[in-house]
């Protein structure tokens, strides 16, 4: 799957949680949870929705690798192809 599609999926799912978020303003290296004020409950639901859409189940031990948009896209791209 190409990067743009993954990005769109991520943004769609994050919009469900943070409808007011402006993704144009979000830098690809910023901490997503801090910037969008996503708590651990929202974050878990976000990961569940990514599993639904992309078929990638992210183990808890990898949470710390997934800080920014770039991290997420890179991580998912490796596992989808």
């Amino acid at each position: 799957m190409i990067e743009a599609e993954i990005r769109t999926t991520i943004i769609n799912e994050l919009t469900q949680i943070a409808p007011e978020a402006d993704f144009e303003e979000l830098s690809p290296t910023e901490n997503i949870r801090e910037e969008l004020d996503i708590d651990s409950f929202d974050f878990l639901n976000f990961l569940i929705s990514l599993d639904d859409k992309l078929g990638v189940e992210i183990p808890e031990s990898d949470y710390e690798k997934l800080i920014s948009m770039d991290d997420l896209i890179g991580y998912l791209q490796e596992r989808i192809d």
Binding site: A18, P19, E20, R33, D37, D39, S40, F41, L44, L47, I48, D51, E57, I58, P59, E60, S61
Partner: protein, 378 residues
């Protein structure tokens, strides 16, 4: 015959709006059935009935006027629908067809006399949302100059309503409750190791969030110190039987609610996680039940997601205690003459000094710590 009254869904509530009946005259109801929808400053709630029987009379029709807490809304006759003949009542005006609508949209529609049957909902599954009502009004709402009304409490804004409700409850608390505060550091190594192992074996949908462990431990600790699961009313301590714990849930865009998780001491961690997910989801989508606003005997607030280490909470009256949970963070830990690094949770207790003393609070935090050292027994 029992009366079904406008309930008080919190210390700050004096009136509510009857939005909708979920039953009709002649319907059989049982304890805990949701039978009406009531709107308060904090949103829309389904209100349950506490008497089994048959709806005998509906005395108040849905509308947009504020109805005082305690007003009789309906009467419930004992017995089965088959053998209770409903008391003849004047033909009730037709109840509007039930529409799915967000609380804030409902409030705005009522204030602007918008006919909901003419509105097409554009939210998910056709739910009418704020934008639909704003469109119906003609997009002039946001620019509208706030009108000075004889009732300063009335607000056009759900967020402002929540803010006012919090302000009222917290002012009362700080004015009347002599708080005392205790804090204890809890070594979370065992709990987190156990949780990590559990989550490794689970699918992502069954994963437990760390907060369920301290939540369950609080419930068990209240079993040891039941004086903290109680209300202070008219100078007296009233112990609660059920262990219903209020959980502070932040609302996106500001404000928070502290609805109750019921019978937490009797739930497995899986059941507690399911109940918590359901409660958070419904709180954030404005679908709480009345009992969830009133049943909590104590409240837990966790601010660890934001990196807060120590929470100094304000008690939600008439409760007598509040537990604050900070971030579980690695800290130097000295034990048996050796220094190591451990994940540490700072748990705080704010408690009402009229209702009890620090010794009791200390016993509670000690019990909380004890239960978190044996996660397999939670």
């Amino acid at each position: 015959m029992a009366d079904f009254i406008m309930p008080s869904l919190g210390a700050d509530m004096t009136t509510g709006i009857l939005v909708n009946w979920l039953v009709e005259v002649g319907d059989q109801v049982k304890h805990g059935d949701s039978i009406a929808e009531v709107e308060t400053a904090k949103g829309l709630f389904e209100v349950e009935v506490f008497n089994a029987g048959v709806v005998d009379q509906i005395l108040v029709q849905p509308g947009s006027e504020e109805i005082a807490v305690g007003t009789v809304l309906a009467t419930i006759a004992e017995g089965d629908a088959a053998d209770v003949a409903p008391t003849p009542t004047p033909a009730p005006t037709k109840i509007a067809e039930r529409r799915q609508i967000s609380p804030v949209a409902h409030r705005l529609a009522a204030e602007n006399h918008i006919d909901l049957s003419q509105i097409e909902g554009t939210g998910s599954q056709g739910v009418i949302c704020l934008a639909d009502i704003e469109r119906a009004i003609g997009g002039t709402v946001r620019e509208k100059v706030p009108h000075l009304s004889a009732e300063p409490k009335k607000t056009t804004d759900f967020k402002a309503g929540v803010r006012q409700a919090i302000a009222a409850a917290m002012s009362l608390s700080n004015r009347e409750i002599p708080h005392y505060y205790l804090a204890t550091d809890i070594d979370m190594s065992r709990s987190l190791r156990w949780l990590e192992e559990q989550n490794r074996q689970r699918s992502i949908r069954e994963r437990l969030l760390p907060v369920v462990l301290p939540l369950k431990a609080v419930a068990l600790a209240l079993g040891k110190v039941p004086e903290l699961n109680a209300y202070w009313v008219d100078g007296e301590l009233q112990l609660k039987q059920a262990v219903d714990i209020g959980f502070a849930i932040t609302l996106r865009g500001g404000g928070l609610m502290t609805p109750a998780l019921h019978n937490v001491d009797q739930l497995s961690l899986d059941q507690l996680m399911t109940a918590l997910s359901d409660l958070i989801t419904r709180t954030r989508s404005g679908k709480l039940r009345g009992s969830e606003m009133t049943d909590a005997g104590m409240t837990v607030t966790g601010l660890g997601d934001l990196g807060v280490r120590t929470v100094y909470g304000v008690i939600y009256p008439p409760q007598v205690a509040l537990v604050g949970l900070g971030k579980i963070a690695e800290q130097p830990w000295a034990e048996e003459g050796a220094l190591s690094v451990r994940p540490v949770l700072t748990a705080t207790l704010a408690a009402d000094h009229r209702a009890g003393d620090g010794h009791q609070g200390g016993q509670f935090l000690d019990a909380l710590n004890h239960f978190l050292q044996e996660p397999e027994n939670l």
